[in-house]
Symmetry: C3
Subunit: 313 residues, 3 copies
C-alpha cells in the first residue's frame, strides 16, 4: 500500500496509518543510507526542486541528499535571486517551475498557508518544508522516527516540548503527530510563548519546566530564536536559560532513559546546556541522520512508491 | 545533418535552415521530457557551466534542467561570488573555467557583445543566455517553437511584439528569427521605446496598440522592467497599462485563434491583464515547457549531435 | 599502496612518499579528464560536501568537478546562508553535516587551524581547501604536479615564490612540499611581507626580485590581495609593480626554459605583466587543468582507493 496523496502539507491532515507507513518505509531507507553505495534508482529521470524562500541550509541539504540518493535531478531555486524580486506573483513563479516538467517541489516560506495555496494550484507534488508558524511536517516525522527507533513505540510515552511553542512550526507538527500515535504531550515555556488554547489539541500546558519534565520519556527542546525576540516575550536570554534551560541537574527529574532532542541549530548555554547536548541521553545527531531517511521515504511514497510493484533496491 | 557551429550567439547569424534544424530537433526532446524517465545519455561525462553575471533563476534553471536531462554534469558559477570581484578580467575568468575541461559555457552578461568576445577567445562552446540589450537567442527559439507547435508554420503569420523594444534582447532575437522564417513582424510601444530605425530589420513600427494587434496571429508581450524605468520613458505604469496593456477587450481585435505569449516574469495588471494571462489564448506556460526542450536540442547539436551516428534515446 | 590517512590538512605533515603517491595517482586522472566521457565510478553513492566559509568560486568549482567526475553526489554548503548566522558553533554545524552520512568534507575557512579542529572532531574525511594564512595543500600539490609534468622531476630545481609570503597559505604549502621533494626554494617580496624566519623552513629569503629570479627554473607569482592591503605593507600597487612585478625584461634573468606560474586570480599589470601571463613560459592555465586531476586523485585516495583492489576505469 502506498500513500494516496499528492502532497505532504501537515501532520494534522495525516492519519495514524499514513504516519506509520512513512515511518516504516523510512526504516528501509535508513538501511540504504548506511550502505557503502547510498543510492537507489527510485526517482531516476525525475526532477525535485528546492524552493526555499527562507534560508535553511540544513533542511535544504537534507532534502537535497534525500533526492540525490533516490537518483533524482535536484535544482535549488533560491528566493533572493528569483523573479519574485521582479514583482512576479508566487503562483506565477511556481507554475513556471512546474511547467519545466518538475516532479516534486519542496517549499519553505515565511507565510503560514502559502505552501497549501501552492499545492492546490499545481499538479506537481508539494512538500511543506516549513510554512510560517504553521507546520514543518518532515521535522515532526523525523522526531517521531527517532523516538520510535529508541523506544519501540510512541504509544503511552510522555513527550515534553520546551520553549517558544507559539511561533514553532516544529511544535505544531510534533503535537499533531504524537497525539495521533498515542503519546502524552506536554508543552512548557514562558506564559507569553505557550498558549493555553493548545489544550484543545490534546496536550498538557505547563509554565514550570521542572513539573513539565517530571518522568518524561522524551524532552524535545526547541530553539529560542534570539534574532526574533528582543525583550518582547522574556526579559533576556540569561533569564530564559535560568528558568527554561535544560541542564544536567534538571534532567534527573525525567525518566532515567529519557531522550534529549533538539531540531537545531542549538543555542548552547541558553535553551540547552552543553553537557546535556553532548550527553548520553542526546539523540540530536540521530535526528539529523534519520531526517534524510524519512525524507527519502516521503519522496518515494509521494511519487507512487510502495504500491506493490517497485523494489527500492 | 548537425549544426556546424561552436557557439550560439544570436539568431541574426543563423540561417533559416539552422533555425529549423534546432526546432525540429527540439520536437524529439519535447517527447523525451514527457516520458516518466526524462533522461538521455547524450552529454554523459561532459560538463556544462552556467556563468550568469545577471540574476535569472528561471533561465538558469531551464538550462540546468536541459543539461541534466542530457546527463551532463552542471556547475553553477555565480558572478557575485567569483573572482571578478577580486579584479580578475572576464577573459581570465572564462579561460580558467575552460581549463577545467568544460564542454559548454552558458553565459549571461549585462554588456552587449560580451558573450561574443568570450566565444571568440575560447575553444569551448558558448551559448548566449542574454547579453545586454543585444540578443537572447534561446528565448527567440522557444518562442518560435511554441508558435510553430500551435500554428504548424511561421510563414505568413502576423506576430506583434508589444512593449519596450529598445532595451529588449528578446525582441531582437524574435525579430531576426521570425523574419527569416517568413513571418510578418510588427512592433508597438511608446515612441520612446520603439525605434523607427527597426524598419530596416523588416518590421512594421507602430505606436498605437490597437492598430498593431489588428488581425494578429500572435501577440508577444514583453515585460516592462519597472525597476529600470523611472518616468524616463513613460509617465507611470498606470499610464502604460492604459495605453499598452493587453486586456480582454483589446484581444478581440486580433484573430480569433490569436496566441498570447510573454517571456516572463509578468507584471500582471500592467503589460498584461490577468484574464489574458490565464485565458484560453495564453501559451505562456507552454513557452516555459518548450524552453527546456529547445535548450536540450541546442546543447545536443552544439556537442556534435545530429551528425548521423547518435541516437538520443 | 593507498594513502593511510583520513584527512589532508597540510603538506607539512605529508612525507615525500605520500606526496609522490598523490602526484602519480593524479597522472592517471589527468588521462581520465581528457577522455570524451570524463567520468569514473570510484565515488558512486558517496557524498562530498563543499563547506566554504570564504568565497572561492574557482577552488570550489575545481573540487566540485573533481567529485562529480568520480561520480560522487556533491552538495554546496555556503556559509552566509548557514546556521552559523544563527549562532550555531562551527563544530555543531560540521557534526550535523557529518550526521547526514557524508563521506568527505572540503572546507575553507578564514581561521588558521580551524580545518584541523574540525577534522579531529569527526570521522568523515576532511580536505583543507585553505585555512587562514596556514596552508592550501591542494594548491601546493597541483603546483608541484605542474612543475613535475614539465620538468620530469622536482629534485634540484630552483623555484622562486614572489609576493606576499607572510599572508600566503599557497606559499606555505608550496614551501613544505617543494623542500621535501628536493627543490631549492627562494622567497622574495617587500621586507614587510617576506619573513626572515622562513629560513628555518629551508628557503632562501630575498628582497631583490632580480637576484631572486636569477637562473630560476620556476617563478611562482602570488596574487597581491589589494583588497586586504591599504598602504600597510607597501606604498602603492604602482610601486609594487615597479619593484616586484614580473615582466618580460626581468624574465630574461631566469633560465631560458623557466616556468611562470600563478595561483590566480591575477592582477594583470601589478604582480605580473600581460606579456608574461600570456607568454610561452606561462603554465598558468595548465595549473587549473591539473588542479582537477590532483583533487580527483586526492578524493580517490582518501576514500581508500589505491589499496590494490580497485580500478579507476
Amino acid at each position: 500500500m502506498g500513500l494516496q496523496r499528492k502532497d505532504l502539507l501537515s501532520l494534522e491532515e495525516l492519519s495514524a496509518e499514513e504516519i506509520l507507513l512513512i515511518l516504516d518505509t523510512a526504516l528501509s531507507f535508513k538501511e540504504v543510507v548506511q550502505r557503502p553505495i547510498k543510492k537507489v534508482p527510485a526517482l531516476r529521470g525525475k526532477t525535485v526542486v528546492n524552493l526555499f524562500f527562507e534560508n535553511s541550509t540544513r533542511t535544504r541539504t537534507s532534502f537535497e541528499l534525500a533526492a540525490k540518493r533516490l537518483s533524482a535531478d535536484v535544482v535549488n531555486f533560491t528566493a533572493s535571486a528569483s523573479s519574485l524580486a521582479k514583482g512576479e506573483t508566487l503562483l506565477d513563479t511556481v507554475r513556471n517551475i512546474e511547467a519545466m516538467n518538475v516532479h516534486t517541489i519542496i517549499m519553505r516560506h515565511s507565510c503560514s498557508g502559502s505552501v497549501r495555496l501552492v499545492a492546490e494550484s499545481i499538479k506537481a507534488s508539494v512538500v511543506n518544508a516549513g510554512d510560517g508558524t504553521h507546520e514543518h511536517p518532515t521535522q515532526g516525522l523525523l522526531d517521531m522516527f527517532t523516538i520510535r527507533e529508541c523506544k519501540g513505540s510512541l504509544a503511552g510515552l510522555t513527550v515534553t516540548l520546551v520553549g517558544d511553542i507559539t511561533h514553532s512550526r516544529v511544535a505544531r507538527s510534533n503535537i499533531h503527530g504524537l497525539v495521533k500515535l498515542g503519546a502524552k504531550v506536554r508543552i512548557v515555556g514562558p506564559a507569553t510563548l505557550v498558549p493555553r488554547s493548545f489544550t484543545r489539541l490534546g496536550v498538557e500546558v505547563h509554565t514550570n519546566l521542572e513539573e513539565a519534565i517530571q518522568d518524561a520519556d522524551v524532552i524535545n527542546i526547541l530553539r529560542i530564536q534570539l534574532e526574533r525576540q528582543d525583550g518582547k516575550y522574556f526579559p533576556s536570554s540569561r533569564e530564559y536559560a535560568n528558568l527554561y534551560g535544560v541542564n544536567a541537574r534538571r534532567l534527573k527529574l525525567a525518566k532515567p532513559d529519557v531522550l534529549i532532542m533538539h531540531p537545531g541549530p542549538m543555542n548552547r548555554g541558553i535553551e540547552i546546556s552543553p553537557r546535556v547536548a553532548d550527553g548520553p541521553h542526546s539523540v540530536i545527531l540521530n535526528q539529523v541522520t534519520n531526517g534524510v531517511a524519512v525524507r527519502m521515504a516521503l519522496l518515494y511514497l509521494l511519487s507512487g512508491g510502495g504500491n506493490g510493484d517497485e523494489n527500492i533496491n
